[in-house]
Amino acid sequence: MTGWRSRKDEYEAARVRRNLMPLPVQNYAVVEKEEPPSYLQEHTLRSWLFTTDHKRIGLLYLFTIIVFFVIAAIAAAIMRLNLLTPRGDLIQAETYNKLFTTHGVLMVWFFLIPSIPSVLGNFLLPLMLGARDLAFPKLNLLSWYIFILGGAIALYALLVGGVDTGWTFYTPYSSTYSNSHVALMAAGVFINGFSSILTGLNFIVTTHKLRAPGMTWFRLRLFVWSMYATSLIFVLATPVLAMTLTLMALERIWHVGVFDPALGGDPLLFQHLFWFYSHPAVYIMILPGMGVVSELICAFAKKRVFGYTFVAFASMAIALLGFLVWGHHMFVSSQSVFTGMIFSFLSFAVAVPSAIKVFNWTATLYRGSISLDTPMLYAIGFIGLFTVGGMTGLFLATLGIDVHVHDTYFVIAHFHYIMVGGMVMAFMGGLHFWWPKISGRMYPEFLGKMTAIVTFIGFNLTFFPQFILGYLGMPRRYHAYPEQFQVYNVLSTAGASILGLGYLLPLCYLIWSCRYGKRAGNNPWGAKGFEWETTSPPPVHNFEQPPVQTEEVYNYPPPGHEAVAD
């Protein structure tokens, strides 16, 4: 691996020497001699807790969401172990119910939703736009503190006994019947929502106001487009969640009749409101991943994405159409046939822009110059798993099929293919890709590749059997199950242990690399974009000279003109 790495360094040196990059490179070559202090220079706790630097805040988020991820993953591991036997001998039903609620709540609101936006988005958005920071740096820090507060309350709810409603909090179970700490957990999620809203606002304003000179909307990076679309959902959908949870808590605490029919309420109203938020939230959990993958594909095919405008607008289309399909979660909840049909139709419609993206990514590879480094492996894994997730989404949008597979393991498998196979793969890919920029060090490439492959295999082994389980009829949220389902559950648990390894490894070697990794050049991948023109790690204010966008985005030199390492 060292041989490969040194060739890369040589390439970097040759590229600078031969002046192959436009203007900013020259500026930056001058700058490098002065060695501006990197954003990681200061080491005091104070310098972290009171920072308004978007890069440091991104890292604060990274540390926090890893904690939540680990807790939620442990919950999943215990559940999978319990499901090894049909009678669920390991833990009691009540514990099981609390575990899947913990897993869902933490993974959704405290890991997936903030994962790419708050970590990579925070770190990269200003860099990609050529800005010194986000539009409202203090607000950004406030978002993190709000996030911490929400998370602390959620963890407190777990410590004092947990919640057993599932992350969906369906009424009247949550509002009247559950004996667990529902209101407390709802408060945690409610507060967490404000962090999302503030981050969304910050990103929207930043994208509108802080773009470098020359950076028109159609010269925006696709990652920025996806962040923009995600931020719109943050700002428009999250308030609905806040209101819904408030109403639920009101009913629970003061018996205000909203959802419980015994109090004159309508239990379906809750589902409408909840999914009006949560379906768009599903797109919060995939759009950023799509943005990252667009970046990875371009950088490792050394090519402009095929159909830039279509990929960009597909993000916007998904964000908007995503608001119109919530009823597909309620096909069997006694809504009218006509309503069911409309929601089914719209759900098919929202699949079109997703298909467009997959086709465009594939076409981007055509006549590219492709290297299969770790991030690219993750990106390819993403496309594969996301395609399976998307295709099975079509099954669920098909009314006749959904009636059978709704609330079974089929649905579980489907959305894990999107959220874990999609979003988490993209997050890992992105983390590896920008790791040299974030830490200034390279991660061990061979281990990285191995991990990407292990994750892919473990993932499929975990979740593919669940499609079959679901069609056979195993309902979700079952602590015990009839014996005929055992084989697939055992397979799934076996897969989960491999998958776990795939997450554990990067945790170790990325930390290791902070100290022992090879120093990364400014642009180890030879990729295009402002973030690669500044030092690794970047200086406090990102750029010594404000960059100017003088060319189209992803303007990779035609093949043959680039400096080749050998």
Binding site: N97, P267, I356, I380, T398, G400, G473, R476
Partner: protein, 321 residues
């Protein structure tokens, strides 16, 4: 432990509807499978052909191509339209109120299913039905939301407190099939399971006669109609002016607020529990609410009784103004 031979790949198929759903599934698998493999093949081909060190034609292609983009948006769209139509047709058929159906009442409660046949026979977590007979389940919950799921018939429908939901199936294969609660409903959700037992009609008739003597649900409803005092107002010779209820089920009822509603189970239920929300045109809102005074079982019985009396539209109810 299960042996290899016991591994199931496909759930039992015990109705025509199940066959239709499976056919659609197989087509979906073939279609999406083909597309997925095609994408994978193209991608792997590109990855191999255009890998960095390989010599290949790399003349930059056009970076945007409207014709291609439109093609690969429109073709999937039309395929989706077909799938939508196919799935919607099954859904529509499942939702049509079946004719000549045998009705069974289902009450879900944490964590059991209580079922009652119209003949008055009750069961818990078991549903006996005759082969070849359409069965309509009229369902409600006493507490939280449940979901009555029968994989062998590929159907499920949520069971909600405070309202009726229905679903129907027609078994075409004798046997014993699972019932699951599919909507999370609390601690023992996973234990809220049961069995559908499909028997030949003769066996079923014999089964109905087993156990202790029962009065039919409608008869029980009639008794309740008197004992709860409904007949004191709703009988023809009653002192209070109240609509006659003969033939009300299935009729169109004009309401005081100008709406005309279809009198189905849900309407009847609301009339009894929350009469003030829908006042029949031309009558005073004097009917008391029976909310909290009547169990789900008894409510079912009264409604069944109301459904059983007369089928002529109650013209007498529409007052001359």
């Amino acid at each position: 432990m299960t042996t290899i031979a016991q591994i199931q790949f496909f759930p039992d198929q015990a109705s025509k509807m199940a066959g239709q759903v499976d056919t659609l599934l197989v087509w979906l698998i073939l279609l999406t499978g083909a597309v997925t493999f095609a994408i994978a093949a193209v991608m792997i081909f590109f990855l191999a052909k255009y890998r960095k060190r390989a010599a290949a034609d790399r003349t930059p292609p056009k970076a945007e191509n409207l014709a291609i983009e439109v093609t690969w948006s429109v073709i999937p769209f039309f395929i989706f339209l077909g799938l939508f139509g196919w799935g919607a047709k099954i859904y529509f058929n499942e939702s049509i109120d079946p004719k000549n159906a045998m009705e069974v009442h289902v009450v879900g409660k944490q964590w059991m299913w209580k079922l009652e046949h119209l003949q008055g026979k009750r069961e818990i977590n078991e549903l006996h039905v005759p082969l070849g007979q359409t069965v309509k389940l009229v369902m409600t919950s006493q507490d939280v939301i449940h979901c009555f799921f029968m994989p062998a018939f590929r159907i499920k429908e949520d069971v909600l407190p405070g309202r009726y939901t229905t679903q129907w199936f027609k078994a075409t294969k004798a046997g014993t099939y699972s019932i699951f609660c599919a909507q999370y409903c609390g601690t023992n959700h996973a234990l809220m399971t049961g069995q559908v037992i499909v028997m030949t009609p003769t066996d079923f008739a014999a089964w109905l006669k087993t156990g202790r003597e029962t009065v039919s649900v409608a008869q029980r409803g009639e008794q309740l109609f008197h004992s709860l005092g409904c007949s004191g107002c709703h009988a023809a010779q009653a002192a209070v002016r109240a609509p006659l209820l003969e033939g009300i089920y299935g009729s169109q009822v004009p309401l005081a607020d100008g709406r005309i509603v279809h009198a189905d189970e849900r309407y009847l239920r609301d009339c009894i529990l929350i009469p003030n929300t829908q006042i029949v045109a031309g009558f005073d809102p004097v009917m008391p609410s029976f909310q909290g005074r009547i169990s789900e079982d008894d409510l079912f019985a009264i409604i069944t009784y109301l459904k059983s009396i007369g089928s002529s539209p109650p013209e007498a109810n529409i007052p001359n103004r």
